[in-house]
């Protein structure tokens, strides 16, 4: 495998571990990595990176971060947008 092909392979490693390569490319990857220990180690550690990433989510709050008054303000903003929409529809149907 020459340098260019190595680079091409390197460029598509994420697609390889995500199972997004077509059959022909997958065969090329499998064939190369079968006998290449550095590639095997690189792929294994990249897979591990993705796994750690999936486990690294942040905690969602158990309770709302907003007070009831703040939530009410969001509700008013929503209701105002609903009213604006009806007003616009009315003025389109009955132009002055």
């Amino acid at each position: 495998m020459d340098q260019l092909n190595c680079r091409e392979m390197f460029e598509r490693l994420s697609e390889y571990i995500d199972g997004e390569l077509d059959a022909r490319l997958l065969e090329c990857f499998d064939e190369h990595t079968r006998d290449c220990e550095p590639c095997q180690a690189f792929i294994a550690t990249l897979r591990k990176t993705v796994e750690l990433c999936r486990e690294s989510g942040s905690d969602a709050p158990a309770q709302s971060l907003f007070s009831p008054e703040e939530i009410e303000a969001f509700k008013e903003a929503y209701e105002q947008a609903v009213l604006d929409l009806s007003d616009n529809a009315r003025s389109e149907n009955h132009p002055a």
Binding site: S14, P38, R54, E55, S56, G57, S58, K75, A77, A81
Partner: protein, 214 residues
């Protein structure tokens, strides 16, 4: 609740489009139910992207305000479409926050930064394989923390893709829609972001006490 995939899954299982439709129909209590569902999701996303609780809360506030003002005008075919739209709004709020604060400057990550070199004989260099981690809860938590810190060190355009794709576990297509970029671009940014994180982990195992533990 650990793991974004889990939060995202719970969000989708709740089928938020039904909550939205009930809210639009004016059903009593529907606004509060929809609000609670969206708040959790957007905050979890904002925290991963911004890193600080206060920033995540500001992002959440901006997102919710924009979303609730826009929702009466919008129709979604299903919960997935609603979800992608919410990420799009949240992404815009995150980028606005970024402009207000001093986040990592935007820069391109080049593939060459991460390509392993070659030894004297021209053969590929030996690469340490640290993928078989011992079953050590402390070490794993330390590594997750390292991943969170490294994610925040990524330039925003890569961080958003990584958070959406690997942490929130959206599909490539959904990330492309939310970020308004091509699927090919999502794949390119994701790969470079992963390589950046992998490099940080490798550094930890080479230099840090992780190597000693391992």
């Amino acid at each position: 609740m650990r793991g974004a995939g889990k939060g995202y899954k719970q969000f989708m299982e709740a089928d938020p489009i039904n909550f939205l439709n009930e809210m639009k129909a004016g059903k009593p209590g529907a606004f509060e139910r929809f609000f609670a569902l969206v708040e959790k999701r957007v905050f979890a996303f904002g925290l991963k992207v911004c890193g600080q609780v206060e920033d995540a809360k500001d992002t959440l506030q901006e997102t919710l305000l924009s979303a609730f003002k826009a929702l009466p005008n919008l129709e979604f075919k299903d919960s997935k479409a609603l979800n992608v739209w919410l990420y799009k709004v949240a992404k815009n709020s995150c980028l606005m926050m970024r402009r207000k604060n001093k986040y990592q400057p935007d820069r391109e990550l080049s593939l060459d930064e991460f390509m392993p070199g070659r030894g004297n004989e021209g053969a590929p260099k030996e690469i340490p394989d640290w993928s078989n981690l011992p079953d050590d809860a402390l070490l794993k938590e330390e590594l997750r923390e390292l991943v969170r810190r490294a994610t925040l060190a990524l330039p925003a355009q890569y961080r958003l893709v990584l958070v959406m794709r690997d942490m929130e576990q959206l599909s490539t297509k959904e990330v492309a829609e939310a970020l308004e970029i091509s699927e090919q671009n999502v794949k390119i940014r994701l790969h470079r972001a992963r390589l950046f994180l992998r490099q940080e982990l490798e550094r930890y195992f080479k230099e840090g006490d992780g190597a000693a533990r391992h």
